[in-house]
């Protein structure tokens, strides 16, 4: 801790200005990601400047969390839950295989039209309504290949 951080905050109930600023980092990264699509060098640099943090710290933090994208992704990021409960409910493998074939991409890849990226994720706390799939910020429960079909068609505007 720097001497500055050790100083008592002026108002006893609030963290020091510096601590509060640092606490904004996760939020700032979300905002930058929304603006730039993914956290490219420019986005990270801007966050670093705004919050007065070294770029290396900003990068180190961003790279720790799976919801920050350091590389470009498609317009819709499809995340299939790979957890045990979803697997038992016939999800995970079945759905991943189905989407792979339908979109012609592997896990981690993006379709050539830039529309879809396929990922697997760990438990999203929908184990009781599994299999679960997330697309961007939406959660879809009790999924089947048929429901995935309809969803993807709808998203693709077909």
């Amino acid at each position: 801790m720097s001497p500055e951080e050790q100083k008592q905050p002026t108002h006893p109930e609030t963290p020091t200005a510096k601590q509060a600023q640092r606490s904004m980092l996760l939020t700032a990264l979300y905002i930058a990601q929304a603006q730039y699509g993914h956290l490219n060098d420019e986005a990270l640099q801007r966050v670093a400047e705004r919050l007065g943090l070294p770029l290396s710290e900003v990068y180190s933090t961003a790279s720790f969390y799976s919801l920050y994208r350091l590389k470009p992704v498609g317009r819709y990021v499809i995340q299939v839950c790979d957890g045990l409960s979803c697997h038992l409910a016939g999800g995970a493998d079945t759905l991943v295989d189905y989407i792979r074939q339908k979109l012609g991409i592997r896990v981690g890849e993006t379709t050539s039209d830039g529309l879809f990226t396929l990922q697997t994720v760990e438990c999203v706390a929908s184990c009781g309504t599994s299999p679960a799939v997330r697309v961007n910020d939406e959660l879809y429960e009790n999924m089947t290949p048929q429901k995935v079909d309809r969803l993807l068609d709808q998203l693709a505007g077909r």
Binding site: S23, L26, S60, Y68, A89, A125, S126, G128, E138
Partner: protein, 423 residues
């Protein structure tokens, strides 16, 4: 047996997340009572007497934790609400946050008053997008009605509450990693002790609680600690939300007294195993807890009884596997989760979990070698007890418990060079 719903009493009512519905259901009366009729010390004593234990996984007595917070009024203290739910098989906190956020706010406010904190933070998983929105709306409404902010209900007590969104990392559910993340850093656990109640957020004493634990607090205040303690067993009091998933007919959240037999939860409440198949294995309390077999079905679901048979109540997330499930593949999938979520800070967990995954994968794929079971056991030996945070101990449980109960199935995989369960 029917049990009067306490924690889940609101969740099925339309618009249960709205403040007006909550108020109509008697909401915020406990906060009023706590602020006007009780001193902070009395509340700490009430929670102690209730026997309430943490519902986030460790089961630590809540009242004791409250009493560890320094009493001095001139010390800045914080309360943090752990909404990072991500333990595979667990889906109760998301339900509470989405369907009954005010019951948690009420619990936070009472806890903050009891320990003398004027600032509280919600840490929520980045993936819970609906949850984030529900939290924010509920907090705004609670401020507007005077349940948060300055001079709450004319009591002179002030409390600010705000939401911090995580960004995808299971380890941030571990309380010290959560504090790091709240401070805007990588979510790597801190060394304990000191515990958060001594040195927590921004190095101030901090009370961290799980959502379900906090949701119990208003009921303890309203109906009294004796009532709460009369539910459950002597060492595990109160109601508990059991999350049942996997091969059962009616997966879902079931609120029952602690101590309810596992058999009753699976066969009566969750409707038994699909298509009348046999139960093979069951994880009693989330992916971190050692699995059990059909032999153990009569165990009462309580902290002490599960501990006595070598497992844990954990989060109360029950995952049921029927006779068709390959135990090696289940262990593999569970271990892959831990390998994926290892924060990488310490070598036994970072490297050890990956080596476990590699070995389990090899066995499952029919490339297992003589000595692989011993290799797995010795890897577990090198991880458990040698890591920086409790996740290392958790990560070995799927492997250890599956070998303990199903060693023969591992041997068959290795001897026949294939998975006997796949056709």
């Amino acid at each position: 047996m029917t049990f009067e719903k306490i924690l889940l009493r609101n969740v099925e009512i339309p618009n249960s997340e709205k403040i007006d519905v909550y108020l109509k259901r008697g909401g915020y009366q406990a906060l009023r009572k706590a602020l006007h009729e009780h001193t902070p010390d009395e509340l700490v004593e009430m929670v102690k007497a209730s026997g309430l234990r943490g519902r986030g996984g460790a089961g630590f007595p809540a009242g004791l934790k409250w009493s560890f917070m320094p009493k001095a009024a001139d010390v800045t203290k914080y309360v943090c609400v752990n909404t990072d739910e991500g333990e595979p098989g667990t889906f109760k906190d998301r339900l509470l946050v989405e369907r009954d956020p005010h019951s948690i706010i009420e619990g936070v406010a009472i806890a903050a008053y009891a320990v003398g904190a004027h600032r509280a933070f919600v840490y929520i998983r980045g993936e819970f997008f609906t949850g984030v929105k529900r939290w924010m709306k509920a907090i705004d409404d609670a401020y507007a009605r005077g349940f948060l902010g300055a001079n709450i209900l004319g009591s002179g007590f002030d409390l600010d509450l705000s939401v911090h969104r995580g960004a995808g990392a299971y380890i941030c559910g571990e309380e010290t990693a959560m504090l790091e993340s709240l401070e805007g850093k990588r979510g790597e656990p801190r060394l304990k002790p000191p515990y958060p109640a001594q040195v927590g957020l921004y190095a101030r004493p901090t009370l961290v609680h799980n959502v379900e634990t906090l949701a119990c607090v208003p009921h303890i205040v309203l109906r009294g600690p004796e009532w709460f303690a009369s539910i459950g067993t002597e060492d595990s009091t109160g109601p508990k939300i059991f999350c049942v998933s996997g091969d059962v007919n009616r997966p879902g959240n079931y609120e029952l007294p602690l101590g309810t037999p596992l058999r009753e939860i699976i066969y009566e409440h969750a409707g038994g195993i699909k298509e009348g198949r046999q139960l093979k294995a069951v994880i009693p309390g989330g992916a971190s807890t050692p699995m059990l077999t059909a032999e153990h079905l009569d165990v009462p679901m309580a902290f002490e009884t599960l501990h006595a048979i070598g497992t844990m109540l954990g989060t109360g997330g029950i995952t049921v596997m029927d006779e068709r499930v390959c135990i090696v593949s289940a262990a593999l999938r569970l271990t892959r989760f831990f390998a994926h979520e290892s924060c990488g800070k310490c070598t036994p967990c970072r490297v050890g979990t990956q080596r476990l995954v590699d070995t389990l994968q090899r066995i499952e794929d029919g490339r297992g070698q003589q000595g692989d079971i011993e290799r797995l056991l010795s890897l577990c030996d090198g991880i458990a007890g040698h890591t920086f945070c409790p996740m290392g101990d958790a990560a070995v449980n799927p492997t250890l418990s599956s070998i303990k109960h199903f060693r023969h199935e591992y041997e068959v995989h290795i001897e026949r060079h294939r998975c006997p369960m796949s056709s």
